[in-house]
Structure formats: structure tokens, C-alpha cells
Symmetry: C2
Subunit: 259 residues, 2 copies
């Protein structure tokens, strides 16, 4: 785990994070500056390493700068449930700024860099600057909306639908983060991990992916790359409607490709 001191270059490290917040809220120049100036420590974390452990009293909230991470809970019997996946620009653990102990762990899916911000820094900024407070509240509420969709996904959909659904969600979110296209993206998860996010076993994930491929809905291009051959049909099979992501209404390209 490499630790660096706060970045002072011309492309601020926290820029993707600010851009994500601004996607749904207006921020003033001063707000933006205050966010970019958040004191932070950059850490490069290896694949599979834990960022936060369940039960920790974490002093830091972390923002993804590069790479992918997951939030997960462990249940009796040692089984694991992934409850969220995070990518560039996302706030993984805002709750560490407001709650005492972590109710879940955070683990890197790939190597990546995170910006660790002390809990007080981020909490105070949210409370002092209304626009930032609003932006963080919205971000948190959208997160919660995704949690709700995931409850419905694992609670009331069969394996085929569940997997098609998460494939659609990832496609859209990756595109939004500028990390892929709707038709072709890299999903850095093993089938075991995909099972942990959908409440299935890796064996059944394997079978289901194969069946989706056989039906011409997706393509698997080695190296964990997914090709979505037919977005509309896959979204249909996955019972996927993007409303719960609370995207802006005015994203012409996105809406176009979603027809």
C-alpha cells in the first residue's frame, strides 16, 4: 500500500468526484474550490485488499480516484454479500463521516487509488456549505435508491433477470463515469463476485451467463469484457428501467442509446 501526500498538480485528484456531484447539482466556484482543496491522502491499494473492515471505527471517508471497489457484508456461515460496487469519482464511505462504526467492509476489486479524507473535514464541509451539503445528500439518496433496487433484485427476480439487471446497471454507470460504452465494457469481477452481488453461486452465474450468451443477448470477450449485443432486449430481460439511478433527464446520447 503506497501512501502519497496531497496532490498539487494541474489536474486535481478529486476532480472526478466533483464532476460526479455536479452531475446532479449546481455548485458555485467557491464550493468547487473547497471540495478540490479537501485535505486528503492518496493511497494505492492492491487488488483484494481491504480498505475498511466491518466493525472498524474508521476515521476516514474514501473517494475512488481510480480502480473499482465493493462494499460487502458477511453473514453466518461465512457467505458474503456484495451490497455496492464503486468506481472512479464515487464516495465509498461518506457514512464514516457521520456514523461511528462501519457496518460493512470495503475491498478493492482491482488495484486502484483512493483519496482518504478525514471524517471531520468532509462532514464539516457538508454542513458549512449548503450547496455541498445538498450535493452530498443527493449523492447519498441516490446510493440508497440503488440499494433499494438491489433488494428487489435479489428478493424478487430469478437468476437470469438478476444478472441481466446488474449487467445493464454497470453498463450505464460505467458509461457515465467515462469508463466504457453501453455495448462493450470491462467488468472487473469474477463470477464468484458476480454471484456475491446477485445472491447466487458462481456455478449458477456461469450457467446463466452462458445462457444469456446462447440467446444472443451478450457476448463474452475474454478478460472479463462484456459485450451487450442487444441493449433493449437485455434491459427487457433484466427488468431494467434506469429511473432508480436518478439520471438527469437531459442526457440525449444516453436516452438515444436506450431506446
Amino acid at each position: 500500500m503506497t501512501t502519497q501526500h496531497p496532490h498539487r498538480g494541474d489536474r486535481p485528484t478529486l476532480e472526478p468526484f466533483v464532476r460526479k456531484l455536479e452531475y446532479r447539482t449546481k455548485l458555485g466556484k467557491a464550493d468547487r474550490a473547497a471540495l478540490l482543496a479537501l485535505p486528503h491522502t492518496l493511497k494505492t491499494i492492491e487488488q483484494h485488499q481491504c480498505v475498511v473492515r466491518e466493525g472498524d471505527r474508521a476515521q476516514y471517508s474514501c473517494l475512488m480516484v481510480s480502480g473499482f471497489s465493493v462494499r460487502h457484508k458477511t453473514v453466518a456461515g461465512g457467505y458474503r454479500q456484495i451490497v455496492a460496487i464503486h468506481m472512479k469519482g464515487e464516495m465509498v464511505d461518506l457514512q464514516n463521516s457521520f456514523l461511528k462504526t462501519a457496518d460493512h467492509g470495503v475491498q478493492m476489486l482491482t488495484v486502484g487509488t483512493v483519496a482518504m479524507v478525514h471524517r471531520d473535514e468532509i462532514g464539516n464541509l457538508a454542513l458549512e456549505r449548503p450547496a455541498i451539503g445538498r450535493a452530498m445528500m443527493i449523492d447519498t439518496l441516490v446510493d440508497a435508491s440503488i440499494f433499494r433496487e438491489w433488494i428487489a433484485n435479489v428478493g424478487r427476480r430469478d437468476a437470469r433477470t438478476r444478472i441481466a439487471h446488474v449487467l445493464c446497471e454497470f453498463a450505464l454507470r460505467l458509461k457515465l463515469a467515462g469508463l466504457g460504452r453501453l455495448t462493450n465494457y470491462r467488468l472487473p469481477m469474477t463470477q464468484q463476485q458476480l454471484g456475491d452481488t446477485t445472491g447466487l453461486t458462481s456455478v449458477h452465474v456461469s450457467r446463466t451467463l452462458k445462457s444469456l450468451e446462447a440467446d444472443g443477448l451478450i457476448q463474452r470477450l475474454g478478460q472479463r469484457c462484456i459485450g451487450i449485443t442487444n441493449w433493449k432486449t437485455l434491459a427487457d430481460v433484466g427488468d431494467f428501467q434506469s429511473g432508480y439511478l436518478h439520471l438527469r433527464d437531459d442526457e440525449p446520447k444516453l436516452r438515444q442509446s436506450m431506446n
Copy 2:
């Protein structure tokens, strides 16, 4: 649906709500007064009636004054997943103050009274008064924590464990809201609704409850009253640890009864 004008009596309608916020945060006298003075409309809503419909652009956030409500999503095939249950003092739809369209519906489980607060009123209060903003952020984050636990519950636990788990959660939350005891409480849900919260069918809920009763873990006292014969064992079977509810550390009675 009965509509009344804002309450002006000596026991303010919004008091349970303020008490819930104060359970986890300190509020000043002025903050408390500002919250209690929130302009609102009281509505008495009948059982089964919808408070918010999925897809609505709701102008109001609602606070539970009495009765129980659920938040639910509908998936393809008409199946339903309950994603949250709310009781006296809880904020059901804070998100309506910050997000545009509702990604889920809200329905009354019993008759009850809700206080409808205009989205701008509650949003502005949160942004103008740091202590209130903090309290609402914490409330939202605890909500999110419960969502995550529910993802794990329906994703990675079997029927018996799932049901034991929600029975424990409800017992604790009802006790906290002053609506029941750990050993004996009224749960106003049909088995169908219990199935919708745990991702099971009502038939399987019936079988599972019977099995829990046969094993001496719970008692069913007609009229949807549940008796928890042996808390420790039920919590064990339900893989229930209360950490995710982020209760205060200093709740002596609660900790005592949870041994």
C-alpha cells in the same frame, strides 16, 4: 383521507420525529423549535392506501405520526418487494425533498396519520441549520445501512434465517419507538407482506413461522401479535447483530435484554 390543518396544541405532532433525530444527534433549542414549527398538513390515511406512487413527482415528504407504512417496488410479473417498513417518528420520504421522481411507492400497512411537509421546507431547513442537516444526514445513512442489511438478508440467508432476522429487527425498532417490548409485540403485517419483505411466498412464510414456533423460538398470539420466547436463540438463528441499526452505545436496558 382526512386532511387537517397544522397542529397548534401543547403536544406537537412532530415531537416523535424530533425525538428520533435527537436519539443520535444533539440539537439546540432553536433547532428543535424550527423542526417542530415545520409547516405541515396532517392526513389520516386508511389501510392499504398509497401515500406515494412509484414514478410520482411528489411535492411532499412525509413523516409518520401514527400507524405503519411500507416502501415497496414492483418488478416484472407484478411481484412486489417491500424495501422498508416505517413507524411513528420516522421520515418516510426525505428523498422527495432532494430527488425528482419517486423510485418506489409508499403504502399504509395500517390506518395512520402522516405529516406532509413541502419538499422545499424540509430541504431548506436541512441546509440552513447545520445541526439539522447533520441529523438528517445521519438518519438517511442509518436508513441506508438497513437497506444494506436487507440486501444481505434476502441475498444470502435461507428462509428461516431471514424471517428470524426481520422479527428481531422489528422487535428492537418497535421497542425504540416505544411501541412494544422485545418479548411481545404487535406486528401489523400479513404473511403475504412478510413474504414481500423477505423475498418469499406467503406459503413458505407460513411454514417457516410454524417451524420457528415448533422449535420454541416464537409464539403466535392471534391478531398478528408475536411473542419472542427466547431472544438470544432467535437472534442467533436469525444471524442478527444490531450493529447495523447504529444504536447508541449507552442504552443499558436494551443491552441488558440483548444478552
